[in-house]
Each structure stands twice: as C-alpha cells, then as structure tokens.
C-alpha cells in the first residue's frame, strides 16, 4: 500500500509539473503580449519596457519558469510595484486584481468549494438513491419516471436550468435572494440561501447521470449469482441489497464521482457565470481574457491538483471498498 502511494504521488507530481510547463509555454507561445493589460490609458513604449524589465519578462523563459517554481516553495522578491516581498507559497502578483495571487485564491476558493461540495453531496444522494430504488422497482411507474427524469436532466443545459430557476424562485415567487456568496462561518443561513439554487441546478443535471449509472450498475449486480445465493439462503432483503449489492455496485460510481468532483472544483465556470458568483472558474476566465499570467498559472495548477488528488483518493477508496482490487 505504501509503495503504491509513493508511486502515485510521484506520478502526480510529474503530472503537475508537466501541466505547469505546458501552460507556461502556451501563454508565451501565443501572439499576445502579457504586458498589454498592465499599463492603461497613458502608457508608452518606454514605460511598457520598464514594466517588462521589472516583471522579468526579458529573462530567458526557463529562468522565468524556474523562478516561478522556486517562489512557490521559498517565496520570492517581487518589485515594489508588486508589493515587495512575496512569502511562500508565492504565486505571483496580479496587476489586474491589484493583489497577490494567493490573496485572490483565499477569496475565491471557498466560494467554489461552497458551490461544489454541497451540490456533490446532493447529486450523489439523489442520483444514487434514485438509481438504486428504480433498479429495485424495475418496470414500475417509479422506474419509468426516474428514467424520464435522468434522460431529461442529462439532456438539459446548465445555463438554461439556472436561468429558469432564477426567474421562477427569485424574480417571480421572490422567495429566495439573488445568488451570492456569504462565508459559511459568518452566516450559515445566508450562505445556504445564496447558493441553494446553484446546488439544485447542478444536482438536477448530475444526479440524472448518476441515476442512470447506478441503476445500470445495480441491475447488473442484482443479476449476479452471489445475490441469488444470498437470497436463497434466506438473508433479509435489506441486508442483501444494502450490504452486498450496493457495495458491489458502488465502485465504478465512486470512480466517476471522484473524478467529477475533482473536475468540478477546477472548472465551475458555467455555473458561476449563470449565477453571478465569483469563484475559481470565473476568476480563471477573467484572468485569461485579461492576459493575467500569474493568476492563470495558479488556477491551472490548482485545478490540475484537484483532479490529480481526486484520482489518487478514488483509487484508494476503490481498493478499500472492493477486496478484489489489488493495488500494484
């Protein structure tokens, strides 16, 4: 187990480094001058050149990249126009936001976490629950309805669902406030009210996928021999279905769920745009549009980190749930 973990961590580190190198190169390979966003109305060639000098943009590319990496571990000294000393982990300074990138993240990361994690809990409970129940009640109207629900959800677009929910609940029925983010610790009720529509929109779409998936998995498991044996032995239904069937059915769902959550954490752009919430996704989009290299690099790294970590967690979970899996 330990050896496996070490191997995976090394592989993860390699992936992250590759991701950072590729994004770094990508932004310099594109025909877009990184300093254009930084010097507004009354800039001229000399001042632009001085900004470039200060940002180290005239240094060779590999030096810039290594300096950036070093900054993450040991901190860096940025020029006075970037706030001076930047302590580890130093992710650079953003001219667009006029703050250190780590500060931007401190603001923006809790928002994305608050949107994704409760939504994930909702969609897993709803989706898997619906799928399992409809597998158990195959052929009944409940099953038909749940299939209909899954197909509809899987064919809907998030921005459409989000817009309709807002129009209904906020502007017509007026029972919910406009979507916004309040830190959980500051005011839990307001936190929930401000995000509940986003949770339900995501849950509607994702649970459809999971309902389909769990139903199929459950049906397949239920037709296995060991289930028939257990029932024949006289074991109670709840034990058979709950412990044996569910456990066997759950493994691929765990895999996909882990990847979905990891991916969602890094990229809830459409949700955030639809609901007007400033999270990691929108920050990334704004950064790309403004050519804000430090923020872009940091968001790419964090999104990649989420996915990589999710992969490892999922593999470990897989191993602990399914005894047939042996980690090599």
């Amino acid at each position: 187990m330990f050896r496996y973990l070490v191997k995976r961590l090394l592989s993860a580190a390699l992936t992250l480094i590759a991701v950072s190198v590729v994004s770094f190169l990508m932004f310099f390979a594109l025909p877009r001058d990184p300093v254009t966003g930084m010097c507004p109305k009354n800039c001229n060639a000399e001042r632009l050149e001085r900004v470039r000098q200060e940002l180290g943009l005239n240094d060779p590319k590999h030096e810039q990249y290594l300096g950036y990496l070093k900054g993450i571990f040991t901190g860096r000294d940025l020029g006075s126009s970037q706030g001076g000393r930047c302590d580890a982990p130093c992710l650079g300074y953003s001219y667009v936001n006029s703050e250190a990138v780590t500060d931007t993240f401190g603001r923006v990361l809790p928002v994305t976490l608050s949107v994704v994690i409760p939504a994930a809990v909702l969609w897993l409970l709803l989706g898997v629950g619906l799928g399992v129940v409809s597998a158990l009640r195959r052929g009944t109207m409940l099953d038909g309805l749940s299939i209909g629900f899954s197909l509809t959800g899987a064919s809907m677009q998030l921005y459409f669902v989000g817009a309709v929910l807002q129009i209904v609940f906020i502007y017509n029925l007026k029972i919910l406030p406009v979507p916004h983010y309040t830190p959980l610790l500051e005011n839990p009720v307001d936190w929930a009210l401000g995000l509940v529509l986003a949770w339900w929109a995501l849950a509607f779409l994702f649970s459809a996928i999971y309902a389909r998936l769990s139903r199929a998995q459950m049906l397949e498991t239920l037709s296995e021999d060991f289930i028939r044996t257990a029932r024949a032995q006289g074991q109670p239904k709840s034990k058979v279905y709950g412990r044996h069937a569910l456990r066997a059915a759950i493994t691929p769902i765990v895999t996909i769920a882990g990847l979905d959550v990891g991916g969602a954490l890094g990229g809830t752009v459409i949700t955030e745009t639809t609901f007007g919430i400033q999270g990691l996704g929108r920050t990334a989009v704004d950064a790309v549009r403004a050519g804000d290299l430090p923020t872009i690099m940091a968001t790419v790294l964090i999104s990649a980190a989420f996915i990589v970590v999710a992969n490892i967690v999922v593999d470990l979970l897989y191993a602990s749930i399914d005894p047939r899996v042996r980690l090599r």
Binding site: T36, K41, C43, A45, S98, F149, L151, V178, Q278
Partner: protein
C-alpha cells in the same frame, strides 16, 4: 414509452418556463432622452460660489444606508490612480480636490474651488503661473489639518511610475514633457517637490509652467489633486484603503465583494460647497451582473429599496421598466461619451471614400443593435452635445438610416475593401455584423477582424496598426472642446503608440487653428470649437460620428438625490439621501 415520457417532461418544462413570463405585445414607444439639452458651464468668478455649506437638498434627511450594486470591483481607489467612471464618481466621497464641479444634473455646471478658496488665480494672466489658496478648517479623517504640503505631496506621488492609471495632465505640464517620470523621479526625491510646484506657505500652492496651460482649473478637478500626508502613503496598497479628506471614509473593504464607507466626522460641511453627508453608510456590493443588479432594483425588495444598480438597465430588460411606476426611479440623461467610426487616414486616403462612409451609415440600425434609445442617441458632430458651446450640424445629411444612393454616387462604381476592427465580445461582434451588412449595401467590401477586448484600445492606438476603420469612444475629462478636438485631431503629437489621434490626420492649417484657439480666453474658445468641428468634418471627414451614450439607471424607491453627472455621464453621489 420511456422516451415519450422523457420528451414530454422536458418539453412541458421548457414551455412552462417560457410561459411563466407574461405574454405581452411589444410596441414601440418614444424615447425620453432630451437630445437637445446643452451644457452650460462657467468657471466661478465670485468667491461666494466656492464657499460652503452646500444648499440643503429639499426633503433630505440624515441617516440610512445607501447601496450601490456593481458587477466588477472599482479598479482603483487611490486618488492619484483613479480614471474609470466608477472611480471618478466614488472618489469625491473620500477625496477632495483643489477644484470641483457644481452640477445641477441638468447640464448647468460651475467650476468652483473645493479645497481652494477660488478655482485658481491666474497670477500674470498668461496661464503660466497659477496660485491656489486653501480654505481654513480642512481636516483629514484622523483630524489632522489639510495643508498645502499634503496637496503638493499628492501631486508629487502621481509622478511615481508604480502608481499608474490616473490622468497625466498636471505631471506632463509641470515637467513639460510626456516622459515626466524621467524628468523628475519621485522615489529618490520623496521629500522634495517636482519642478514648477511650490508651497510658499501652509495654505498656498503654486504652479509654474513653461507653456500656457489655461485648462489647469479643469485638470485639478480630477481626483489626482487630492491631498495625502506622506506618512499615510502605503504605495500600491493605498488602492484598497485610501486616506480620506472627504465626507466619508473607507471602513471595510473586501476586494471584489464589498466596500463600506462611513461618515468622516472630521469633514466640515461649512468648507464644502458641493457635498452633503446624509446617509450614515454607503456600501458598494460587487458581483451581480447588469441583469441581476437591474432585476434586484426592479423587484424593490426591502434591502434593495435603498440601492442603485450601477451597471444600468441593460437593453434586454428595458421593456420591463419603461413607463409607469418606474419613471420616478429612473435616471435618464445624455452623457458626454461620444462614439465615432474612426477612419485610419493613413490607409483610407481618398476623401470621397470617407465621405461615402458618412453617407452610407445607418445610425438607427446600429443603435437598435446596441439596444435602442436607452443605450444611445445618434450624433452627427465630432463633439457631443454636452460640450460647452455646442452647435448642432450635419456635414453629410443622410437621414436616420443612411443614404445609400448618395454613397454609391460618391464611390462612382468602386468597391473599396476595408478592414473593420472590433472587440471580440458580444457587443463588438454584433456591431461588426451590423456595420458590415450596412456598408456593403453601398458597395464597400468589409472584412471584420476581432481583437481581444482588453487589447483593442492599445492596438488601435498604435500608429502602424493594420486596420482601416474601427469604433472609438471619447469622453472628455472636462466639457470643453479643448479637451476633444486638438487631442483627437492634432497630428503633431503622433507617436508610435498610445495615440489619441487615431485617425492619424496631420493637417498644417488645422494645427495652426488649434494653436490659435487654445491661446484664447477659455470663455471665448467655445464658439470657435464649434466652427472647427464643422470644418474638420466637411474638409477632412476623418471619422463618421455615430452616437452618444445614454445614461439609463434605475434605483430603489427609498433613494433620493441621485442625478447623472453632466461631466461624466454617471450617477453622482453628492446629494444622495435615503428616504424613511
């Protein structure tokens, strides 16, 4: 069977949701913006005008919290770095300047002394030496007095190349050089003052220029002349937490989320001829986009009754708020923000082609694309109607939808190929489609090129840019023709980058006219600029005047005292108050 159910379910959902909105008939109604409104403005000559307190706003009471809803954060709050509209309307709350405008919201402006006793003393009547005497009783938010030392320090730090973003008039005039930060370095000279700036005593500040700068009083109305004590200078961090000299001070700032301003008890209304301090708190809330902000204010729920939607009412929601109960909550006024189709005269050399463009343009169609009469009104002059001394004229009368036949006649069968540059956002690309369809009717062959939105301004300001036509916007920093025509059409200052003369014309006779008019007394200049406007259009046609932006804002039912600034075209907060 399942499929049918699923389709039925989804279809019902969609139709239901569309049906939730009432099915109304859309009709056309007239616009309400007074396009004939002219701006009048004077520099106050009577010292009484510069004295406080400002007259009470009828019906205004103290108390309450006024909220402003905006999508993005205000890019700069450091007074020396403010240059965006939101920043310019926010700054007077916490930053007082040497001079400022008295504005009745209907186009009547008076430039008065704010920190200073008068709008400025032109010592030798040659506009080269100016003196300002500060009022007594001026205090910062911590109670210490505002003296000429702090005002001078504020101007000095605007030379710091790290503190970019603000206007550069005063710096360039003092240094007599566009590279002012190389003439005098702020960082190494923190205790000294830039050349030409001096403080003979604690209440006098003196400007000495190499050339005549008759517009100094106007330039000092921008927040860049706000005072700052040197020990409160936190460099780039001042942007998020400025030090107040005005009626409000920043008490809480969560970047991108919320900005809270509360009363500055050390502000003395007796010294201020313009501002009031009615609300206890003023709060900027960031995040909701234009539609969300407008919807909140339309709904007028308890929290939003004292709010203003800063991003205005987008065209997509206008039909909801036109007429009826919303009129009393609507701010609707023309702005000084003028938009023209700049023609790169280095590439489009044929005058007949430029004139043909002027005849072919369909202004009404373009305005409909942008969202209708609450977004823009057509303009046929280079200077917007809000300019002092404005006179309406139309050098190429083509009617609201353009005169295609006349354009074709001028082109005499040719099909010039022109490259139109637009921003790559929705508005830009739709404008591109609109203009392409419009101009191709007259025989032009238009290629639309998109440029990343943030880069468009910089790219089109380069002398060697590869495009032929694009839309430019110009909102003068003060409403005089002197800050419009020579800036946009004098060819002697053309450089490699950062040009404002993006038509790149350089006509000697015109340049000399500019010099002649600039040397005149400011009040005599106004009619001359109007004449020049007509002349430039008729003789050179360096652009196609398109439209003036319209201010269309909605606020909650418990807010009073808001008006659209006649200088900047955005809501001003000097008189704002919360109704019980």
């Amino acid at each position: 069977m399942h499929s049918r159910r699923a389709i039925a379910a989804g279809g019902v959902l969609i139709i239901l949701s569309a049906g939730l909105v009432a099915c109304n008939k859309t009709t056309d109604e007239g616009s309400k913006v007074d396009t004939n409104r002219v701006t009048t403005g004077v520099i106050a000559t009577d010292p009484k005008d510069s004295r406080g307190p400002a007259p009470e706003v009828p019906g205004a009471k103290k108390g309450g919290t006024f909220t402003i809803i905006r999508q993005t954060k205000i890019s700069h709050m450091d007074p020396q770095r403010v240059y965006s509209f939101a920043g310019l309307m926010n700054a007077p709350l916490y930053a007082r300047t040497l001079t400022y405008w008295k504005d009745d919201g209907k186009g009547h402006l008076t430039l008065v002394g704010d920190l200073a006793e008068t709008p400025g003393k032109n010592v030798n009547n040659d506009c080269k030496v100016w003196e300002y005497k500060l009022k007594s009783g001026l205090k910062f938010e911590d109670g210490r007095p505002i003296t000429s030392k702090e005002v001078a320090y504020g101007i000095a730090r605007s030379f710091d190349p790290d503190l970019t973003g603000g206007p550069t008039y005063v710096q360039e005039w003092l240094a007599d050089n566009a590279q002012y930060d190389q003439v005098w370095e702020f960082k190494t000279n923190k205790t000294a003052l830039p050349p030409g700036l001096s403080t003979p005593d604690t209440s006098t500040i003196k400007f000495e220029f190499a050339k005549a700068r008759c517009d100094l009083p106007f330039a000092l109305s921008l927040p860049a002349s706000a005072p700052l004590p040197s020990d409160k200078d936190t460099g780039v961090n001042l942007d998020n937490q400025p030090f107040s000299s005005g009626p409000y001070k920043i008490t809480k700032h969560q970047v991108g989320v919320e900005l809270v301003l509360e009363r500055n008890t050390n502000w003395d209304p007796a010294t201020d001829p313009i501002r009031h301090q009615y609300p206890d708190k003023i709060v900027w809330t960031f995040g909701p986009n234009a539609e969300q902000g407008a919807n909140r204010v339309i709904a007028d729920s308890a929290a939003d009754q004292t709010a203003l939607a800063w991003n205005g009412v987008p065209a997509s929601l206008v039909a909801k708020v036109v007429g009826g109960s919303y009129t009393s909550r609507t701010l609707n006024a023309p702005t000084p923000s003028a938009n023209r189709l700049t023609i790169n005269t280095q590439r489009v050399k044929d005058l007949a082609v430029r004139q043909a463009l002027n005849y072919a343009i369909d202004r009404e169609g373009l305005i409909k694309t942008l969202g209708g009469a609450t977004v823009a009104v057509p303009m046929t002059t280079l200077m917007p109607p809000s300019t002092l001394g404005f006179q309406s004229h139309d050098a190429y009368p083509a009617g609201p939808n353009g005169n295609i036949d006349q354009a074709k006649k001028l082109l005499a069968g040719k099909t010039p190929e022109l490259v139109l540059a637009v921003s790559d956002n929705t508005a830009g690309t739709e404008t591109g489609t609109q203009l392409k369809n419009n101009l191709e009717k007259a025989g032009f062959k238009i290629t639309v090129k998109t440029i990343p939105t943030d880069a468009k301004l910089d790219e089109t300001k380069k002398r060697d840019n590869p495009w032929d036509i694009w839309i430019d916007n110009w909102a003068a920093d003060w409403p005089s023709g002197a800050s419009i025509l020579p800036v946009l059409f004098d060819g002697r200052g053309i450089k490699a980058e950062g040009n404002s003369n993006t038509a790149f014309i350089n006509d000697d006779a015109l340049n000399q006219e500019f010099d002649r008019v600039l040397a005149m007394d400011p009040s005599a200049q106004a009619p001359e600029w109007a004449k020049l406007d007509k002349r430039i259009m008729t003789d050179l046609a360096p652009a196609v005047p398109l439209y003036v932006d319209v201010a269309y804002f909605l606020h909650g039912s418990k807010v009073g005292g808001l008006y659209v600034s006649s200088v900047f075209g955005y809501p001003a907060f000097t008189d704002v108050h919360v109704k019980a």
